[in-house]
Symmetry: C2
Subunit: 320 residues, 2 copies
Amino acid sequence: MSDFTAKEVVEAAERIKNVVHKTPIFTSETIDRFAGCHVFFKGEHLQKTGSFKARGACNAVQLLKEAGKTNGVITHSSGNHGQGLSYAARAAGLPCTVVVPRTAPPSKLEGMKAYGAEIILCEPTMKSREETCEKVATERGLTIVPPFDDQVIMAGQGTAAVELLDELPNLDAVFLAVGGGGLAAGMATYIKQTKPNVQVYLVEPNGKGLHIYLENGQIRGDLDSLNTIADGIRVLRVGANPYPILQKYCKDTILTVGEEEIKEAVALIWTRLKQRVEPTAGVPLAGLLKMAKEVGFALKGKNVAIILCGGNCDLTFLPL
Amino acid sequence: MSDFTAKEVVEAAERIKNVVHKTPIFTSETIDRFAGCHVFFKGEHLQKTGSFKARGACNAVQLLKEAGKTNGVITHSSGNHGQGLSYAARAAGLPCTVVVPRTAPPSKLEGMKAYGAEIILCEPTMKSREETCEKVATERGLTIVPPFDDQVIMAGQGTAAVELLDELPNLDAVFLAVGGGGLAAGMATYIKQTKPNVQVYLVEPNGKGLHIYLENGQIRGDLDSLNTIADGIRVLRVGANPYPILQKYCKDTILTVGEEEIKEAVALIWTRLKQRVEPTAGVPLAGLLKMAKEVGFALKGKNVAIILCGGNCDLTFLPL
């Protein structure tokens, strides 16, 4: 993995700059008081397609298009990556197919269709998703774009860190939710290689056990899903590409939060920042607020950034 | 009323610039497509205290403080004006008392208390609110700051228009929700006196009948409240100070919307802009979308601004 560096992230930022948003920063005096530090929320829920996933997808699709080696792209997704890829393909003028489990919420399907993607339904298992995706890709000669376990995707997601350090040069720490590890690996690489003193905290839901697996030196084997309200990070194991990067940079900065802590953080973001983020976006704030309660809180009075990863949730969702 | 001009609004903008936010603009390609025009949402829900009411309150309190003629301020409010005045008083270092009906939601009370205001509960009638407010003001020598029927308040609320025209010089129309008329009169005065070609549309809930009363030349007499989800504009009649201004500038640009239309607009703002606004903030978009359905829609392809007036609603609220 030593060949993935901040250079790839910088190049991705240049490559996608005309198709993604530079997202805004939000602050709240009340949340600062609760957290005991200055908190800067980067609004990736206002990114194209409503999540940071558009960054990685755009980087992958732009690269494929430049190489002239694809007739179209395909992925399997029940959520934000499918929307991100649909948008990225449309922006590049390429066809896009998304394999979607039958149980995915209609709002996500609508998002993909609105960007012009073709939807193929499959059974709601990882096996069915992967098999259907590979079968259709082979039949139609489409290029598979994975959601996180790919250096090109990691580089794209990492571009959020380029904007962040550019806008907030005096940052002390960054908190982000970790699922498959694409965003975490991309951002950690850029941050630790350009500003080594900035700490990168990864926050996970109870049951993921990432700190154990990074300590062990083993990638978690099971493909099951976590049972958490944070539906963007239900994948249990991080990808093989992100794994060594997270082990190198974040082994000692993993935080674990419970469901009630996530809901409380989402409620704070909704009522104080007035930003209607999805459940997963509450995870890093939950981690920061938990850490802030500890005696000798190391970030007291410091400048801390939080990634609001997405804003795609059904209208009826309430963090109660 | 001829003595209220754009000059008062410009002076207010200068007076309050260090205590209020210059609020950001949000856009959505999807909403543009639905509306058939370019829509720019001004985020007053991100204003200090979560609504534009902080503008007028700050202008009033700063003026009182400069004049050195007050020991403290008082008002009656069940919502955003109470929070706005509490914040304005704290910013000026003056004590603040708010008379609040017993039925007001706890979240609003918490907001006022957090800004250091003293709360006095009263019966939930306009009579009890006004009598209690006047009694306490007299006993304690406090200055009453009204919510909308006052030129100083109108000037403060109008400062949103100064920012708007400054940031969007090619604007063709502005849509805003109308309740007591303070924001409408302040913004309409500034806009029509500096850029007469920009149209100012006022959107009201069913049952208010503002177009009839502006046509009649009569201020509506009853003090009752409208039964609408848009709780920020339940007051039935516009104030005596705003009335002649609205009659002069907006008589032919009043739109009326139903409850379902308001809810649909709020849902669009939540899911597309990811901004968690309060119900009243859906009113102007509801008006625009209704108008956009008419044959020969006059604003097709034009640049239209919408004021997102506030973001203070309980966590359990859903626009369903």
